[in-house]
């Protein structure tokens, strides 16, 4: 075979050979397990840290509040909506290490009157005029017993 062709083919196959060897070492181990991706990634994604607790965790200790809420309009709401992620409290339950958001601005996020909110879906109040002498809704409304102490 002529020298040029010899040399070209030699280089060609040497390159391919080298590439295949390098590829063998570089390709991640779990690649291709379930599809064209690192199988380990599926597990990594499944094992990421959870920050929000689960409302079931709350019910384990605070079943009394759950009972109170039963006939309320706030029944069925996840505790975490107002009490935040709650992870610290669930892991180490102490008085005070859980959020308890309230205030006109906060409650207004759901309840402020807004044309795009359907009246049959959420109870709405115009917070700019509703009892402006008060600073916090919870002064009158217990979130777990909304009409407690009212006529």
């Amino acid at each position: 075979m002529p020298a040029q062709i010899n040399r070209i083919l030699l280089l060609f196959f040497a390159f391919i050979g080298l590439f295949l060897i390098v590829r063998h070492f570089l390709i991640p181990e779990s690649f291709g397990q379930y599809g064209h991706y690192r199988g380990d990634s599926l597990i990594e994604n499944a094992e990421k840290d959870k920050i929000f607790a689960d409302a079931q965790d709350c019910h384990a200790c605070h079943s009394d509040i759950l009972e109170k809420l039963e006939n309320e309009m706030h029944a069925g709401l996840s505790c975490l909506i107002c009490h935040g992620p709650g992870r610290t409290h669930v892991e180490d339950p102490q008085l005070g290490n859980i959020a308890k958001e309230s205030g006109m601005e906060f409650c207004g996020k759901c309840h402020d009157i807004h044309p795009a909110r359907r009246g049959d879906v959420v109870f709405q109040v115009d917070i700019s005029t509703h009892h402006t002498e008060k600073t916090d809704c919870i002064e009158c409304h217990n979130p777990h017993a909304l009409w407690e102490g009212m006529e």
Partner: protein, 397 residues
């Protein structure tokens, strides 16, 4: 980071209409505009070279090696634009090791390597092999070693061996033509296959990319031939230059026709995305599209080059027209890439608004970086022309 966030708040204040919140920042900037531009120049220069080699248009002989070496210079720089853009450039090797067969972008690794090694380098080597052997004998010291290595240890330059070189080169060029189309066509497909983006998603995209690549490549060689001849203080072969001008004219017509067809089709069908695209073209893209891409990059060159086909003009006039239209075309095709890449990201995929793009100066995605990538190929070309001078090729006895 702080500066970047500040920049984003500024952009947020300039949003028109409604965009999806994640669309505020353009993912692909000037560096990504450069990549199709550079590979387009590679493909175009190669096609011009192949006109001489495969289609036997001998009059283009003086530009044959220049075109190949230009293609090589730009091909070497092209991947750097991509790597510098990546969020995690150190993982760039993954595209070679685990390419996703369903992704057009994954083709890059293999098409690029194939074209660089099996096509371009091989063709240049086969063309210069005889010269390497001769130069290795003539030179002394370090340069002697360099040429010896380049000849890959083969010293046979008998007429039979040289004829074989020629035959092999012919075959490589033949394979090289579709390879060049693939090298640049896949970039067009990268955009053309994205159904989410109606500015990009068209069957014609790979075709338009290829034809505008040929236009830009031919223009580049035309300009370079004139510049290199000027620097070397040698007479320009006007028959060659006139032929290049002629081919540039024909290619311009083809490219213009295809791009117009794409737009006419879009305007006629006026489907869902038409309203926002209409606003895009008449608003943010007005100057870059109508001004630079169409008027400067196509209409004026077509008229000038067309006039030369009809009217006889003095050599000096012809040279001036070739140089100026060549430069205009190069600018125009750059803006064609700009309008595709940047334009496609300026409007929201919800078709209800626009974000904005401010070209930064510094940073890996900035204008200065883009200028560096644009200048580098010319420096490499200068080096290659010194190492492998086409005009010092030893003619056969």
């Amino acid at each position: 980071m702080e500066e970047h966030t500040q920049h984003l708040y500024e952009m947020l204040s300039k949003v028109e209409g409604y965009i999806y919140p994640n669309e505020i920042e353009l993912q692909w900037g000037i560096i990504i505009v450069l990549y199709p531009y550079l590979t387009g120049l590679v493909a175009g220069a190669f096609i011009l070279a192949s006109l001489e080699r495969v289609f036997k248009i001998k009059v283009l002989g003086p530009t044959y090696q220049l075109a190949l070496l230009t293609a090589l210079s730009f091909l070497i720089v092209a991947p750097f634009t991509l790597i510098s853009h990546l969020g995690s450039p150190l993982r760039a090797w993954e595209i070679m090791i685990t390419p996703n067969g369903k992704s057009a972008m994954a083709i890059f690794g293999f098409v690029y390597l194939w074209y660089l090694l099996a096509v371009l380098n091989l063709e240049i080597w086969l063309d210069y092999r005889r010269d390497f052997v001769i130069w290795a004998k003539e030179k002394k010291g370090f340069m002697r070693g360099v040429y010896k290595i380049l000849s890959l240890g083969i010293s046979d330059i008998s007429p039979k061996a040289v004829r074989l070189d020629d035959r092999l080169g012919y075959i490589i060029t033949l394979i090289g033509i579709p390879s060049a189309f693939l090298l640049h066509g896949y970039v067009g497909f990268i955009f053309g296959s994205i159904k989410a983006n109606p500015w990009w998603s068209t069957v014609l995209m790979p075709v338009i990319f290829i034809f505008s690549a040929m236009v830009s490549g031919i223009a580049l060689i035309m300009v370079l031939y004139m510049v290199v001849s000027f620097i070397r203080k040698v007479k320009i072969d006007m028959a060659c230059l006139d032929t290049i001008g002629k081919y540039l004219f024909y290619m311009l017509i083809l490219d213009f026709t295809l791009e117009s067809l794409d737009q006419v089709h879009r305007i006629y069908e006026a489907e869902e995305s038409f309203d926002i695209l209409h606003m895009l073209v008449n608003g943010k893209l007005y100057i870059t599209l109508f001004g630079f891409q169409i008027m400067l990059g196509m209409i004026i060159p077509m008229i000038s080059l067309g006039a030369l086909q009809i009217f006889k003009a003095r050599e000096q006039v012809r040279k001036t027209i070739y140089l100026s239209t060549g430069l205009m075309v190069l600018v125009g095709i750059f803006f064609m890439r700009w309008n595709v890449v940047i334009g496609g990201q300026l409007f929201s995929k919800g078709f209800h608004g626009f974000t904005n793009f401010k070209l930064g100066l510094a940073g890996t995605e900035g204008l200065f970086m883009a200028i560096v990538w644009m200048i580098l190929p010319f420096l490499i070309l200068a080096f290659l022309l010194w190492l492998l001078p086409p005009w010092k090729k030893q003619m056969e006895a």
